[in-house]
Amino acid sequence: MNTRAETIRSTDAVGRAAERADESALIRAAQQGNQEAFEQLVRNYDQSVLRLALNLLRSPEDARDIYQEAFLRVYKNLHTFRFDCSFNTWLYRIVSNLCLDQLRKRKVRKEESPSVSTREGEMDRFEFIAEERAGVDPQRSLMSAELQSKISEVLSSLTNRERLVFEMRHYQGMRLRAIGESLGTTEEAAKNCLFRATQKMRTALGAYA
């Protein structure tokens, strides 16, 4: 049943190396107005972008907005991209700014009206997917529900920036240096953020592990 998945995985590394080599060509073509090249560029990154937005905002509708706005900004500003950082970093600068803005707006909204809807209904699907994954791997399904809810709790207790850095490092696998660049700060500052986030996780989760 997993033949396809395995084939994809085994060719992944090779494919990714080729993608990187092709990427500058793709960006140049997109800069010249080639829409297919732009769409290919989007497809190389959009799953990660959507995952980040979804994990951070925990609302598919908000994540969808971020997706649109981010790639629209990429489209409109691609001609200003000068290859002086990686495209990935440039893209995440846009995405992280949008996510932080959205989280800030929410906070304001919450302070203005305490009865603001949490859009919890929208998360049904999201939770369902998570539950599905638990079913795929027996080890994961053994993970106590208690631990999982504890993780959610700690994640939501992090500050927006800690959360963002943690998502980028833990889930997106970005290097601290790239995270720093994306957030317009230093590697050291990103490291401190990550440091605080992991410390909170350790303190809260150490007992379960």
């Binding site: 107005g33 959009d46 631990l147 990550l194 350790r202």
Partner: protein, 317 residues
Amino acid sequence: MNCETVQENLSLYLYGELNFHDEEQFDSHIAECAFCSAALDRERTWHAAALSKSSDVPMDLLSRCRRDLSRTLDALQPPKPSRWEQFLETLDIRPSHWSTQLAVASLLLCVGFYSARLLGRQSEATGGGFSSSNDMSLLSPGPSNPVRFIRQAEGGDPDRIEIGVDEVRPHRLLFRRDDPALERWAIATVAEADDPSLRLDSIELLSSRPCAAGKSALLAALRDANTAVRHRALSALEPCAPDQAVQDTVVQVLATDQCPRLRMEAIEFLAPPTGPVTVRRQFAGVLQGVVERESDGHVRLRCERVLQDIKASPVTY
């Protein structure tokens, strides 16, 4: 490195973010200190647990996002009258030197030749029957359309220049919904596309007429690596529920699929609660087998309910 420093750097170590020197110090401390070594194990455990919390992106959300974006971009596309001038510029040629119209004509002819070749190849593969928007104004110079040669056109006319373009730009094909070629594209995409959201979209296309040739593609999609694809394939097959081959495959799904949610849907599919009891009775044996082997409590319970409903004893059958 002392215990305190090691404890502080557990995560950075696991992320591979320590510098060479620190990592060495860290490694040698861990090798000798059982206390820190245990702490590292705990750190590893919560790292893994937190990872399992991250979800794959829902494929239908992804394809919705892509569709939205594509629509927005299409709306933003400016008219493209200056492509030709840009093209000449990239070749460092000024239009005034040429008889522009003639040159455009020969470019189009030449491009027409290449795209005809491309389309010809695709027609062979699919049996033809589709039309292409084939809009030459979309062809633009760039890495995806490399120029292969520039030469004086045959016939000796100095005003006619021929440019060969290897067009590797993807085509956009336009179909009417009832075009049989559309179904062939969808079937090929369900089987071949690496991108699960494309496989989902293709299933969507096939689901409007699932009892034609698309049925076996949908049956194959029930074994897709992506769970969302399998879900969609199963619901697309609903109109074919009475079909024997379909039922056999869904019974397989119920017995072997890794996703409890899909197994649950397979039960509904085979023994719909609103359908006639005779249909449900037909699967009593299968459901009985599930009750005995099923590891998921919800799935087992659902089977037992159906079995109770058809008054077959869940214990002895």
